[in-house]
């Protein structure tokens, strides 16, 4: 019965986190704002208003394309895509048709079992977001706050054949977008939206099936997998009954874990694309492209490879690189403990030492685990007394209740001991000494 192979492609929308909208200078920070309060003549599509493209959004869209190994079109343009919907104030969306900013990319998916899968990226283009319809009883209201927010559309070729790969790809794409700092890629807020299209075919069949089903309303990676698995099963059942699934758009209902038909596409839609006459076409200079490429951070997969070359296990390298700030933290910590990179990675991944207290605290704690040190208590006690004598002011402020000074004093002792002391012991001994009456420490 399972004699079918799924064919899955993805369309992903990512809202860019620019300050202003795509084609106007009104704020793009509209999530959770009072309806129709973040608008202007351009985003409302008022008579006479004209779009002026946001340069930052273009640079970021190209950066996403580069991160997905795309070719960059040095000549590009915007086009008008026409359809009627109340959340589309101009009757057309400014998008890109035949000259997207980037195209023909690829992404190497490193599976957990060590195998890799190449996913081809068809195109990455930039467009404007639409408004939002709010259904209120029998009324439908329109909120134009989101209208005109820059939106990047990433389209993959239908290269996936299972939902696990899809889930992993999307999780990694989210990480990449966040590395680039171009979007918070938050699915709850709708700044990252996923639309898989699914069909199934016989093993060995090369042609793409003559139908596909698009799924919308998915707001988590877990649901993407669930929706795809549901669809695959549904298609196989239909085909088993000698029926061909209908080409349609279905919505995922997370409570029930099912998909339901939303819109049947009987004919291909005719969007009557033509070049946006209000925005002259672009001819990007090599310098412009080069500057964007220069701003590219080291991406997760590269970091994983480098961390592994430092001796970190593949699993730990993967976990460490899910968040750019964690990866950066790791690197800083690893620099302080040369030859201990793998162990530092372990401490972070296993949460043996918290990373949220700052790098100094982390190192203090890590050192105890990594480098247990025999402490000469006689030298230590002499050193502590010296340090207290030499730092009257900090000692006084500690005694006046400023406890944060303690770590400074610990540091001073550690320094004087030239590292030949266990930080925990130093702290304990220092505390003892500080609690003594002043008179007993002042002798000559």
């Amino acid at each position: 019965m399972h004699d079918y192979v799924p064919v899955i492609g993805l369309e992903i929308h990512v809202q860019l986190g620019t300050k202003s909208k795509m084609f106007s200078r009104c704020s793009a920070d509209c999530f959770g704002k009072e309806p129709n309060s973040v608008v202007c003549p351009v985003s409302l599509g008022l008579p006479g208003a004209l779009p002026v493209p946001n340069k930052k959004a273009i640079q970021w869209a190209i950066l996403i394309g580069m991160a997905l190994n795309c070719k960059i079109n040095t000549v590009s343009k915007f086009d008008r895509k026409h359809y009627f919907y109340p959340d589309l104030p101009k009757g057309y969306q400014i998008s890109q048709y035949d000259e997207p900013f980037s195209y023909d990319g690829s992404y190497d998916l490193l599976r957990k079992d060590g195998s890799t899968k190449k996913i081809r990226i068809k195109r990455v283009h930039l467009e404007e977001d639409t408004g939002k319809l709010i259904h209120d009883g029998n009324d439908t209201l329109v909120d134009f706050n989101r209208t005109g927010v820059p939106l990047v559309e990433i389209v993959t070729e239908p290269d996936f054949d299972n939902s696990d790969d899809v889930k992993q790809f999307l999780e990694e794409l989210q990480v990449i977008v966040r590395y680039l700092k171009v979007s918070d890629a938050d699915m709850e807020k709708g700044s990252m939206r996923l639309e898989p299209n699914i069909s199934v075919r016989k093993p060995g069949q090369v042609e793409i099936p003559n139908y596909k089903v698009e799924i919308k309303n998915i707001n988590s990676f877990r649901f993407v997998k669930a929706a795809i698995d549901y669809e695959i099963k549904r298609h196989i059942e239909l085909l088993g009954n000698r029926e061909v699934p209908i080409q349609e758009t279905r919505g995922y209902q997370e409570q029930k874990g099912i998909t339901v038909s939303q819109r049947v596409k009987e004919t291909a839609e005719d969007y009557r694309y033509f070049p946006e006459p209000d925005i002259p076409p672009f001819e990007f200079t090599q310098d412009f492209i080069h500057d964007i490429r220069k701003s590219m951070p080291e991406l997760p997969n590269k970091k994983i490879a480098r961390f592994q070359s430092m001796g970190v296990s593949p699993h730990n390298a993967y976990i460490l690189t899910r968040d750019r700030s964690v990866a950066d933290f790791y690197e800083e910590a690893a620099q302080r403990f040369p030859d201990q990179s793998a162990k530092i990675a372990m401490l972070i991944v296993q949460k043996s030492v918290p990373i949220n207290q700052g790098i100094e605290e982390f190192c203090l704690r890590a050192v105890k685990i990594l480098l247990p040190i025999e402490t000469d208590l006689i030298i230590l006690s002499q050193t502590i007394r010296d340090v207290i004598r030499e730092h009257e002011e900090p000692v006084q402020s500690y005694k006046n209740g400023k406890e944060s000074v303690l770590m400074f004093l610990v540091g001073q002792v550690m320094k004087a001991m030239q590292g030949k002391a266990d930080a925990k012991t130093v702290k304990e001994e220092l505390l003892k000494e500080l609690k003594r009456p002043i008179s007993s420490t002042s002798y000559n």
Partner: protein
């Protein structure tokens, strides 16, 4: 004191006070606009509101009603937008206000600027002041008629392909279509976005230069506006430079003999001044008709898509016949399966038209031609012919397609007493030469406006 027939430049040089001039013209509008219908209903300002400072010192102007204003309704002469008040001013409006202009009101046009006669206004046609049974031309017919009848000393119109020059020619006034990108389109209700261009309609070439100085310049709100220095054109009009003026037989075909006589007269005048006339060969202007009919329709169908009835009050049934025709044709030429054959092919031919001018301007400085093949037609004629506007605009469409500057100035009256216009087309952003030659011709042709003013006095 009468300000009738006084150019902006002369009013300014005499230190005429803004609100006095405003009241003078407002009184004339109240007295004569019932006959001419140059202004749209509800579009007349009744209070002078301008600083009497700036280069225009409070002087009043009329504005075509497809230019959005925050203080007056803007309808584009379409019922769809009846009562619509824009929350913002067009950039040309802001620029004129900053320069001290006041506004008398909003002038009539073919609804959405779709037409060449102003008969297609949803609020009724405007009459030609020279003959009330004739049309003023269009689509800026209200602006041209207002200036011709002395209801406004000058006006701002917009041109997509002839909509400034044709009504200027038929009403005996000066109409300047600047280079596409010279003047901001922000706040002009879009018709053919890759063609639209606001420009002055005035009594004199000097006034056209003066207003261009105010409205020209790059606008950060219009990505198609260009950063080209704005000249003090009104100070550059007098020049002794001897130039080469081109003319092409292709622009004389099927032109009314009376108009041809005026054009030849203008050519002799320029020759007498020591300029060289040079015959050139140009692409037949008829190709511009096809290009315009396809590309402009496509853009119209897109630009009008927002007026669905969900907003702006009236639903799509309120579109006039002309708008509906254009939407349907525009949607057709963009449909898959036809877009290559129509839209893309037309875009290529448009490029050839632009190249044709570029080539011509290697040999000549400006090109002279009649503005229109005939003089003002009768009210009702437009309905009798399919693509009436395109036929009337045949001589103005090529320059519009190429985006080059062009000016029409009055060259005389026909035997029937109707004005004749002659036009000069120039290189991209070379408004200077166009205005200079127009200024010289204006002196030589000495068009007399006294008779028409006596009709409305």
């Amino acid at each position: 004191m009468s300000f009738l027939g006084r150019s902006l430049a002369s009013l300014l040089s005499e230190g005429a006070v803004g609100n006095e001039v405003f009241e003078f013209f407002m009184k004339r509008i109240r007295t004569y606009d019932d006959k001419i219908h140059a202004f749209v209903p509800g579009g007349i300002a009744d209070i002078f509101s301008a600083a009497k400072t700036g280069v225009l010192c409070g002087l009043p102007l009329a504005l075509k009603d497809n230019i959005v204003t925050a203080n007056l309704p803007t309808t584009a002469s379409s019922k769809i937008l009846e009562g619509y008040i824009s929350p913002y001013d067009a950039t040309v409006v802001t620029g004129l206000q900053t320069a001290g202009a006041s506004f008398l009101g909003k002038t009539n046009l073919d609804a959405w600027a779709h037409g060449s006669s102003t008969e297609a206004s949803d609020f009724g046609p405007t009459s030609n002041p020279y003959n009330l049974e004739r049309v003023p031309g269009g689509s800026s017919g209200g602006s041209a008629a207002a200036v011709a009848a002395g209801l406004a000393p000058a006006a701002i119109g917009t041109e997509t392909a002839g909509s400034i020059r044709l009504p200027a020619a038929w009403c005996g006034v000066v109409g300047l279509k600047p280079t596409y990108g010279r003047v901001s389109r922000y706040g002009i209700i879009a018709m053919g976005s890759s063609w639209d261009c606001p420009g002055p309609i005035t009594q004199t070439v000097e006034d056209a230069a003066l207003l261009l100085e105010v409205i020209a310049g790059q606008d950060p709100k219009d990505a198609t506006s260009m950063s080209i220095p704005v000249e003090k054109w009104s100070k550059l009009l007098k020049t002794e430079k001897k130039l080469t003026i081109g003319y092409a037989d292709e622009y004389f075909k099927d032109v009314d003999p009376e108009i041809m006589a005026s054009v030849e007269n203008a050519m002799h005048a320029l020759e007498d001044r020591g300029h060289t006339l040079k015959k050139i060969t140009m692409l037949d202007p008829k190709y511009a008709i096809s290009v315009y009919m396809i590309l402009q329709r496509a853009e119209v169908s897109s630009n009008l898509a927002r007026y669905t009835g969900v907003r702006y009050g009236m639903n799509r049934t309120a579109f006039g016949k002309e708008a509906k025709k254009r939407i349907i044709l525009g949607a057709f030429v963009l449909s898959s399966g036809y877009v290559d054959e129509y839209y893309k092919k037309a875009a290529k031919v448009r490029y050839l038209l632009a190249q044709d001018f570029k080539k011509a301007f290697e040999d000549v400085d400006v090109i002279l031609a009649p503005t229109t093949p005939v003089t003002a037609t009768r009210i009702g004629d437009a309905d009798a012919y399919a693509f009436f506007g395109e036929m009337m605009d045949v001589l103005t469409e090529p320059a519009a397609a190429a985006g080059i500057p062009a000016i029409s100035i009055p060259a005389g009256l026909s035997e029937a007493g109707l004005p004749i216009g002659v036009q000069l087309m120039g290189k991209h952003f070379d408004e200077t030469t166009v205005l200079q030659i127009a200024y010289q011709l204006e002196q030589d042709l000495a068009f007399d406006r006294q008779a028409i003013f006596e009709k409305y006095a």
